[in-house]
């Protein structure tokens, strides 16, 4: 098991409070790790900490053994970590081609850019088809695909994907998850944050459930999906459902990290 990314006892947040409260998490190379958890659990914050938009107050973030906790977003990008953000992040009045080429902004050689663009266009035909259209004229799902394409310009060693299904219709959502699955099949390392737990966990090698800034459960995607307590955590009814959860079989054989009792009721 080779951890490409290690987050060790990280605390991070905004203003006075911490959202990540001693989070420890490893992401293994070549696998798709899916972070799920209720609103406010700290999923997106994990991505912000990794991509350098937010610096951890305490704890370590290491990528390929090197500490990146204090690096700028640009420096982290140069390390090979690329994020596909949650909000629509294409530059709407620029063309699709321009948007995708901008993904290779940090590449210094023109030829390299063109070559990457060629590869990306093969991988994402939509880019070639709509190259000259402005990004704003694309549908939500198409925009998401172009965002993926843009991220692939740098051939990332670690791809961070933040809630890709947000605001998309089910059919289109499917398309996005198919794409993620294909990327996973190509052997890419992906850290996915997803509110839609089933869709996310279905395609994940590793599933991680966050609650209140800590890892609550970790296991294979399928195991987590099958774990009845996830539903409870997710719906914020873990306290109420505790009796029922106890009847269910305990999570199997994975390194489950139990958080402190939350006493929510």
């Amino acid at each position: 098991m080779t951890a490409i990314l290690e987050i060790d006892n990280a605390f991070a947040g905004y203003g006075g409070g911490n959202i990540l409260r001693g989070l420890t998490l490893n992401v293994e190379a070549g696998k798709l790790t899916c972070l799920v958890g209720p609103n406010g659990a700290g999923k997106s914050t994990v991505l912000k900490v990794v991509s350098g938009l937010l610096h951890p107050r305490k704890g370590e973030v290491r990528f390929q053994g090197q500490s990146i906790g204090k690096m700028s977003p640009r420096a982290i990008l140069m390390q090979g970590i690329v994020q596909v953000p949650q909000d629509r992040s294409l530059f709407s009045t620029m063309t699709v081609r321009e948007n995708v080429l901008l993904g290779g902004f940090t590449l210094s050689h023109h030829a390299e850019k063109e070559q990457r663009l060629e590869e990306v266009m093969t991988r994402f035909p939509i880019v070639r088809e709509r190259a000259k259209d402005t990004a704003g004229s694309l549908s939500g799902g198409q925009q998401k695909l172009v965002e993926f394409a843009r991220a692939m310009m740098l051939d990332p060693k670690l791809l961070l994907v933040d809630e890709p299904s947000m605001g998309l219709e089910p059919r289109v959502r499917r398309l996005v998850f198919d794409t993620l699955q294909e990327l996973r099949a190509e052997g890419r390392t992906i850290l996915l944050v997803e509110q839609n737990a089933r869709s996310g966990l279905e395609i994940a090698d590793v599933g991680v459930v966050l609650e209140r800034g800590q890892v609550r459960l970790k296991g294979s995607g399928a195991d987590i999906l099958a774990d009845p307590s996830v539903g409870a955590i997710y719906m914020g009814t873990s306290g109420r459902l505790k009796t029922r959860v106890q009847d269910a079989p305990a999570p199997t054989g994975n390194d489950v990290i139990e958080s402190a009792p939350d006493g929510a009721s």
């Binding site: 991509s51 938009l53 977003p73 640009r74 990008l77 140069m78 690329v82 994020q83 953000p85 992040s89 294409l90 530059f91 709407s92 009045t93 620029m94 321009e98 080429l101 901008l102 993904g103 902004f105 940090t106 843009r150």
Partner: protein, 292 residues
């Protein structure tokens, strides 16, 4: 009213409008990229005018030729000013930027006064008064050259923005600062360069201003009001809007000047502004901007 006079005034207004557009476009650019209201922009115009003047007076370099010197120099000065005084602004950026750029303008005025004196000067080339006639309208070369230079530089700016990687990163920064950061664009550097470009445009505008007007270091006060109103009319952060607005406003003014009176023409900026404020606060030509 004399038709020839009207036509003459319209042509003049169009040409002069191009020159004002050149000056106003830098102002719109800095606001778009940095959310900075650069009230010192006209001081940079005057600084550019002085550079051209000095090069012309002492080394006899034609002001159009000396642009290859003044524009890069002003570009560097602009970048330096941005990095020294504007980059650190965070809180209430738009409003604090007024104070900061005002202070910069005072400093520029002081430095110009110290080195160049406060006498009124003008860049008087030997072709300053030449003109030719088309259909009874005298076209003055210097206005025509000025307009062509304005159009050329605006074209180059458009090319820069559309065709170069830097231009893309600049537009990306205008459109979505955080997403730009996430793809590795150094938005601080982009801002500094954008300010530098605005300063270089100001230098070109200054050379033209200096050929058409007498000026001294305090002339920037006269200019900034007009430029600010132009960019409000143009939608504030739109470079194209600023250019179109200045064509329209200056033409309007010149025409009013001959058909009613110069005194009334002077009100035209404010009349247009009042109409815009009442009818369409987002500006005549701009798309609705977030800040309005």
């Amino acid at each position: 009213m004399n038709g020839g006079l009207l036509l003459g005034a319209s042509v003049l207004g169009l040409l002069l409008g191009g020159i004002y557009g050149l000056m106003a476009s830098g102002l719109a650019l800095t606001f778009g990229v940095m959310r900075v209201i650069n009230v010192g922009h006209s001081a940079l115009v005057i600084a550019g005018a002085y550079m051209s003047y000095e090069l012309f007076a002492h080394l006899h370099i034609d002001p159009f030729v000396s642009l290859v010197i003044t524009m890069p120099v002003m570009f560097l000065i602009g970048m330096g000013l941005e990095m020294a005084f504007l980059q650190h602004l965070r809180e209430d950026r738009e409003q604090f930027s007024v104070l900061v750029t005002w202070a910069i303008a005072l400093g520029v005025e002081g430095v110009l006064g110290y080195f160049c004196g406060t006498d009124l000067v003008q860049i008087s080339t030997n072709y300053a008064n030449s003109s030719f006639s088309i259909g009874g309208v005298q076209i003055v070369y210097i206005y025509l050259y000025g307009f062509l230079l304005g159009a050329l530089l605006m074209g180059l700016l458009a090319l820069l923005l559309r065709r170069t990687t830097f231009g893309w990163s600049l537009r990306a920064t205008v459109l979505n600062r955080q997403a730009a950061q996430l793809i590795g664009i150094d938005v601080a550097k982009v801002s500094a360069i954008a300010f530098g470009i605005a300063a270089a445009m100001a230098a070109a505008g200054g050379a033209l201003y200096g050929m058409l007007n007498t000026f001294n270091p305090g002339s920037w006060y006269d200019l900034i009001g007009d430029l600010l109103i132009i960019i409000v009319l143009g939608g504030f952060s739109s470079v194209r809007g600023a250019f179109i607005a200045s064509l329209v406003v200056i033409m309007f003014q010149e025409i009013l000047s001959v058909i009613i009176s110069p005194t009334w023409a002077d009100w035209s900026f404010f009349m247009l502004l009042a109409i815009v404020l009442i009818v369409r606060p987002s500006g005549f030509f701009g798309v609705k901007t977030r800040e309005a």
